[in-house]
């Protein structure tokens, strides 16, 4: 039973309070939508969960452990972050080979994830020539490389075309059905509504809602979101 537990997480950047005393749970076997307006602290929270940003206080646990203490982190958590980058001169397949080697994942798995994200035909091109959608697929392939039990995906639908978004929705549902914990942050509420089982909404770094999608008092997600984030 691996899940993500955010406990009293707080982060100050200088005088700016990016995240304040944030607590919520991400259960296994579900897709959890992590929502909030721009600047709400979503990316900061996800980066703290992954050990990239040091919390001012509080902690983020994955299966009860800090990310940095995981023995084989990529086999436990797969992450797609907005600012994850690629060397433009490196071929798509080579990018994955580098990550696979660091993670101790067999090279054959690289071909599997390339197939899974439907990028095999472009795998020998340099990433500098990839479209936004192709980069996004490569990022998803990176996240899936270690066959992780937890997936943390920041705006995974970014840059995907309608067919890609539909494909992604099916993939995320399937991954959750296999018993994995899947967290997706997104701005596209209609998309989240079709994909997520549970919702976490934050605003100005504080928790506004955490619970099932159908627990929003019969309101539509958009209506509830706008009310909770003070836009309405």
């Amino acid at each position: 039973m691996t899940d993500v537990s955010i406990r009293g997480l707080t982060k100050h950047f200088g005088k700016v309070q990016a995240v304040t005393d944030l607590s919520f749970e991400v259960p296994s076997g579900r897709v959890t939508g992590f929502l909030g307006p721009n600047g709400a602290g979503k990316t900061t929270t996800l980066r703290m969960a992954l050990g990239l940003i040091r919390p001012t206080s509080g902690e983020a646990l994955i299966g009860g452990r800090h990310y940095a203490d995981l023995d084989r982190p990529r086999q436990v958590v797969g992450a797609l972050l907005e600012a994850t980058g690629f060397h433009p001169g490196r071929r798509g397949r080579d990018h994955l080979r580098v990550l696979a080697q660091a993670a101790g994942v067999p090279a054959q798995r690289v071909e599997e994830v390339l197939n899974l994200v439907e990028l095999t035909d472009s795998a020998d091109r340099r990433v500098g020539g990839y479209s936004l959608g192709m980069r996004q697929r490569l990022g998803l392939a990176s996240a899936l490389l270690g066959d992780p039990r937890v997936l943390i995906l920041d705006e995974p639908a970014n840059g995907l075309d309608p067919a890609g978004i539909s494909w992604l929705r099916g993939l995320l549902r399937e991954l959750a059905a296999q018993g994995r914990a899947v967290v997706i942050s997104s701005h596209v509420l209609s998309e989240v509504e079709q994909t997520a089982d549970a919702i976490v909404i934050i605003h100005e770094g504080r928790l506004r809602y955490s619970g099932p999608l159908d627990g929003l008092d019969g309101e539509s997600l958009e209506s509830a979101f706008l009310t909770l984030t003070g836009a309405k």
Binding site: L52, I53, P73, G85, F86, H87, G89, V98, Q101, A102
Partner: protein, 239 residues
Amino acid sequence: MNEILKLRTTRTPLFLLAAAQLVVIAGVSGLFVSGADLADPLTPLRAIAHAGLVSIFSLVLGIIAVAGEYRHKTITDTYLGTPRRGRVVLAKLGVYAIVGVVFGLVSAAVATGATALWMNGKGGTFDFGDPDLWSTVAGCVVWNACFAAIGVGIGALIRNLVAAVAAALAWIALIEGIVGQLLGDLGRWLPFRSGQALEDVPFPGIDLLPQWGGAIVLTAYAAIFALVAVSTTVRRDVS
């Protein structure tokens, strides 16, 4: 040995290596075109010493190893795969010192070959058995190795690729000369001067450490930069 795979899957190292060889050939040729004294036993050494001067390229390669990862944001994936960041820097130090040796060996081979061609072509003699020659070759290789490792430390410390490369080149082209004058005798301990000491070729008017002293001082610089980086900037948030 993840760093080797990273290195092999981009073209930057080969471009830098090729550029260094052009500089070596141009530098050696320049010495002979401008009428070097073929009878002076130091002439071939001064020519081969260009293989040491191009350790600037090894330095830049080392800087790119870390600051380039921050620039392209691949550092996120690197730290996700290896959350103990000190290990990442340590691995880069080791791998890039070896890569610096390779750069140094290639440059020294090209410099020695070019020097032999020019000496013989100009009617002089080139003695491959001269132990002083091999001492200079060895020094050039070590200089490249040390500068690649120092580059890793500088890249980790500054993290901004443009700033790190600019700072390193400004130090070599301008600042070390000024600081050296201010320090007087102590100027021997500065990085570029320590590299020159490694070449084991006397420079008129420049006071240098012994060859082994240059090696120790440069190794110490690499260790200090890396150690300071690991305990400061490398720990900072990656966002």
